[in-house]
């Protein structure tokens, strides 16, 4: 997915028509703050027409610009998804599908006529006509159109690799797909809706914030309306135009204008990381997550066991063991085998001695190695190699068995290396310690999560000893060993009963119940349809570590809302200092003391506040789209930092901004 600059002029230009269309009051009903601004703008327009002056028209124009800027923020945010939606739509061109009839024959139907449950046959080079599960055959599929990943993936019937997405292309072989979605409700349809924002529903917290902003707006409407009466009594009649300007400056326009843009941009940030959230609610929930369930394999560890060290037996020189272990692994193309060569001989190609016969690993022998003219070398599972030794009358030294125990206890996998010269009994030479390697940086990541108040639980099928060792090494807070899908589900229920929010990721059909139960369930795109249906997010890259990013994006979304609300309200203080003296200084000259910014005239003071109020929306659009910077930290420190930046900053900025605007405005001839 292509990244575009956060805000470039071209983007603004393309967003402009959308912003103008949103001036329709019906579009503004959802955001009461901006509706009040528009009503104010209409009112001042009427007043400016009835009693034209440069001041009246300036205020009117800037009030309209305030509404427009708010709409622009939303349009820009939406625009960022539009390009992506267009490329997705290209996938939806109608194709002809070959549907299998109940009689077993094939009939050609347009892909739009397919219903859930239909069986279609797709061959190499053809586009899959709709979402579904492979029920027969295996094929390599190019899913780059959806995921952006160019390497083809294998899709096969049964198991956890059976889901296919409509619009992707079969590269080889022939599969039969059972369609799982009706037209217009496919995965791609949903993706388009999500990235365009058309399916966007306001999230619970956003609605709550809207209520609060609405209440603030109501307070200021009452303040301004009653001020009209009160000022009249005090002999300081205030023009309605000025009251409208005051009202617009006081109501929280900054956050009101940017609130929906923040929400859209939050979803967009997820999309840019190839995660599709099926609802905004899930993104918000991600910010609240208390417990992360992470699968060990692929998330915390590389998933391949890598050689860590060799353990010698007394009486066998280390060189002999190393040589034998190396020999037995040269032909071994498994990651474990390659890691032994890498450990013992360094990276690069290593020649196999002439005349060597390779004995590959098989599930029955559970060993692999090489046969030379005069000797055979093997490495493999301890039980299998020991059995080989016993067959030939070889000894099983206690030291080797002890080393095997030791490696197992440390959570590793022991491989015993042995050789047989001619018809002599097999000699056990030593043990290679294979270790599940924790990915780089995981420890630090978990420490960050801990600082954020999030507990990580590692889920693994390993036994408790192995699990404990890896959990300790990775620095997770807890682990669930020998976990069955039911155990996972129980763990989630248990955490939720304690009032904690749980996030997890999964791909298999047996993960589906747990994904559905979790507050945030990220399904891997490679996974089954059942898993994708059950989760509330899909990761197109199928990268389980992304769960951590999702949590951070959720938090960033909430912080951005809070920070801009604080900023917006804090701005009002300076606006009072600009407008109130200007309104009443004629009737009460002593109020000039409150004109701390020394603004040049009452008109320019009011106009400057209005202009500042409008420009600050534009200035903050990039921040709303990008989200405020988020560093994992404790709640107390986060609050202190954000309060300092957006609270204190919000108090100070408008004093400077209004003063600067006043310097320019006061040069205008009409004021």
């Amino acid at each position: 997915m292509n990244r575009t600059a956060l805000l470039d002029p071209a983007q603004l230009a393309t967003a402009l028509p959308g912003a103008l269309a949103k001036l329709d009051p019906r579009a503004l009903v959802a955001t009461p703050v901006m509706l009040v601004v528009e009503v104010g703008a209409v009112l001042t327009t009427v007043l400016a027409v009835l009693d034209p002056s440069f001041f009246a028209w300036s205020v009117t124009v800037w009030l309209w610009l305030t509404v427009l800027f708010g709409n622009l923020a939303e349009s820009v945010a939406e625009g960022r998804g539009k390009a992506q939606a267009a490329s997705l739509r290209a996938l939806q061109t109608e194709t002809t599908a070959r549907r299998r009839t109940p009689a077993g024959t094939l009939e050609d139907v347009p892909s739009t006529a397919l219903r859930a449950g239909d069986l279609v046959v797709v061959e190499a080079g053809e586009r899959i006509p709709g979402d579904g599960d492979v029920v027969e055959g295996v094929a390599s599929v190019d899913e780059s159109a959806v995921t952006g990943e160019s390497a083809p993936v294998i899709r096969e019937s049964g198991g956890d690799r059976c889901a296919v997405t409509g619009g992707t292309t079969v590269l080889s072989d022939r599969i039969v797909v059972r369609i799982t979605s009706d037209p217009g409700r496919s995965f791609v349809d949903r993706m388009i809706g999500l990235v365009e924002g058309s399916e966007r529903q306001r999230t619970p917290n956003e609605i709550a914030l809207d209520v609060l902003l609405g209440a603030l707006t109501a307070v200021f409407v009452v303040v301004c309306a009653t001020l009209w009466v009160v000022a009249d009594h005090s002999g300081a009649r205030v023009p309605v135009l000025v009251l409208a300007a005051l009202l617009v400056c006081l109501i929280p326009t900054t956050i009101g204008a940017l609130l929906s843009a923040i929400g859209i941009a939050g979803m967009d940030r997820l999309v840019r990381r190839n995660v599709l959230a099926m609802s905004g609610r899930a993104v918000e929930a991600a910010g609240d997550v208390d417990v992360l369930l992470l699968d060990k394999t692929g998330t915390i560890t590389h998933g391949n066991r890598r050689a860590h060290e060799v353990l010698t037996t007394p009486g066998v020189p280390r060189e002999e063991l190393v040589e034998a272990a190396l020999l037995s692994s040269l032909a071994d193309e498994t990651p474990e085998g390659r890691s032994i060569v890498e450990l013992l001989a360094g990276p690069g190609e290593h020649a196999v001695p002439a005349g060597a016969v390779l004995v590959p690993f098989s599930a029955t022998t559970r060993t692999s190695g090489v046969d030379l003219a005069d000797r055979s070398v093997r490495k493999g599972a301890a039980s299998a190699v020991c059995a080989w030794a016993r067959e030939t009358g070889g000894a099983e030294p206690a030291e080797v068995l002890a080393a095997v125990e030791q490696v197992s206890a440390a959570g590793g996998t022991p491989l015993v290396v042995a050789e047989r010269r001619g018809q002599e009994p097999v000699r056990l030479l030593g043990v290679v310690h294979l270790k599940d390697v924790v990915k780089d940086g995981m420890r630090e990541r978990f420490a960050e999560l801990r600082a954020m108040g999030i507990r990580t639980v590692m889920i693994t099928g390993d036994n408790a000893i192995t699990a404990a060792a890896i959990a300790h090494e990775a620095g997770v807070d807890d682990f669930l060993a020998e976990a069955t899908p039911e155990d996972k589900l129980d763990l989630i229920r248990e955490e939720q009963a304690g009032g904690r929010m749980v996030a997890m990721c999964g791909d298999g059909t047996n993960d589906a119940p747990a994904l559905a139960q979790a507050d945030v369930g990220v399904a891997m795109n490679t996974g089954t349809t059942a898993a994708k249906e059950a989760g509330n997010m899909v990761d197109l890259d199928s990268d389980p570590t992304k769960l951590i990013d999702v949590v951070e994006i959720g938090k960033q979304l909430l912080i951005t809302r809070g920070a801009l609300t604080t900023f917006s309200v804090a701005n009002d203080v300076a606006k009072y200092f600009a407008i109130l003296p200007a309104m009443f200084v004629v009737a009460f000259p002593q109020l000039d003391v409150l004109n701390v910014m020394r603004l040049s005239s009452p008109e320019s003071a009011i106009l400057s506040a209005v202009v500042f109020n409008a420009l600050v929306i534009v200035a903050l659009i990039p921040l709303a789209l990008r989200g405020v910077r988020y560093r994992p930290d404790s709640a107390d420190r986060l609050l202190r930092r954000n309060l300092l930046v957006y609270g204190v900053g919000g108090l100070v900025t408008p004093f400077v901004g209004i003063k600067l605007i006043d310097l320019v405005v006061s040069l205008l001839p009409g004021l």
Partner: protein
Amino acid sequence: MSAVVPAVGQVLVLVAVLALAVPLLGRHLARTYTSADHLGIERVAYRALRLDPDADQHWRTYALSVLGFSLVGILALQALGRLQQHLPFSLGFGALPADGAWNTAVSFVTNTNWQWYSGEAALGHLAQASGLTVQNFVSAASGMAVAAAFARALARSEAGGRIGNFWTDLVRGVVRVLLPVALVSAVLLVLLGVVQNLHAPRVVSTLTGGEQSVTGGPVASQEAIKELGTNGGGFYNANSAHPFENPTPLSNLLEIGLMLLVPLAMAWAFGLIVGDRRQGAAVLGAMGGLFLVGVTLLTWAEMAGPGTVPEAAGGALEGKELRFGTAGSALFAAATTGTSTGAVNAMHDSLTAPGGGVAMFGMLLGEVSPGGVGSGLYGMLVLAVVTVFVAGLMVGRTPEYLGKKIGQREIVLVAGYVLTTPFLVLVGTAVALSVPAGLAGLQEDGPHGLSEALYAVASASNNNGSAFGGLTSGTPFWNTLLGVCMLLGRFLPMVLVLALAGRFATAKRLPAGAGTLPTHRPLFVVLLVGVALVVVGLTFVPVLVLGPIVESLS
């Protein structure tokens, strides 16, 4: 500078005494509102009233109980006022006018104690003692009950909207807290020289040879509950400026302490009820901080504030009792407006312009510094919810307070609460200033006239009850307007708070983690104070600019 020493000294004494008394009373309050046991005398009351004291009420039932009980109180007081001429111990006073009886009834039931009449010249002993004094106890106990129910709701988890029993809370508040403390305080006040008798008015010869009728009465007993229950309705029109009510600087300090005692102790009790003393301490800190800022500003305004007369006299002494001095009057004014008491020992109309502004601001804060008995606590807790909502977002979580999520429904209730008083105060003031009947009551024109009207409406809407003076309020217009303000200003927020309590009691209480916004740290206290000041400041600064601020700057 010598005046500064006693000014600071009295505050230090006050703080020291309260530091001892508040935790003690707080612990007692927490036990009172959570204990499962009933005292013998309480059982008698429940049996007489045919009540089940152990019934756990849904918040709606609780709210209906509060409203029903208050309605009965209003009707009874109105009857007492209208039929006074037919009742014994009436000292020969006639019936109150209809609007006056309504205003007085609402005033005492809402814990406002706004008095449009002169107590000693309009009401007999029966009305004073059986009507007003009873309401002084039960209206205070009602407020405490609602606050206790709110605290309990926060402490509960998945309780299906049940928040306790109003009747039990009411009876216990009176029997276990207000009566014993009032009794002790009354004795202390008598020792300090406050009058307590049941004599008929005594006629004395004055120095000039004229005759004066001096009304005695059960002053000390009413004085104790007047301050303790943040009621404020004086036995005499001059209220605590009258030497029979408040004879010495020491009695003055005791009365100030009594006003602050229960509101602060309720905050402490709140911490104990929710099982985290630090939460109570934080609320207490915010209340105390706001109060001390008010005291400082008011004392400065009266002792060194602007104005030609104060500068010439070394302090603003107009309208003050010399036995209290400027500092004693300023402290009293800050306490009576910071709590919702409304008793006065000086005429607030005569405070310096900035001093009057501070007193007004204390009420406009919505009575949270530390506010009325009970109402101060729930007012502050509602502000804490607002604070948590915005600050909670800034730490990247959807907001929660004490483990209760703040969602849309909660915010609707909170928004309603926060809107009520500004709406009443601003609209009420605007109405008063735009009709001739309203304007007729004002003594002055211009900014000071605005202050008189604003003060009266603010006092009524926030259930304070103190009068600025200068306003002739005993007219049908003002009696009606202020009555409506008092009624809505008391019961609308109460119902909203109880509804919020119902929501909280229904919700699951979530455990706090490292990612949860801590609501007991100093940073949160500062933020809470900031939110209170900014929200109220932004709402009322425009009117205050035209009133006390313009006046201060001239």
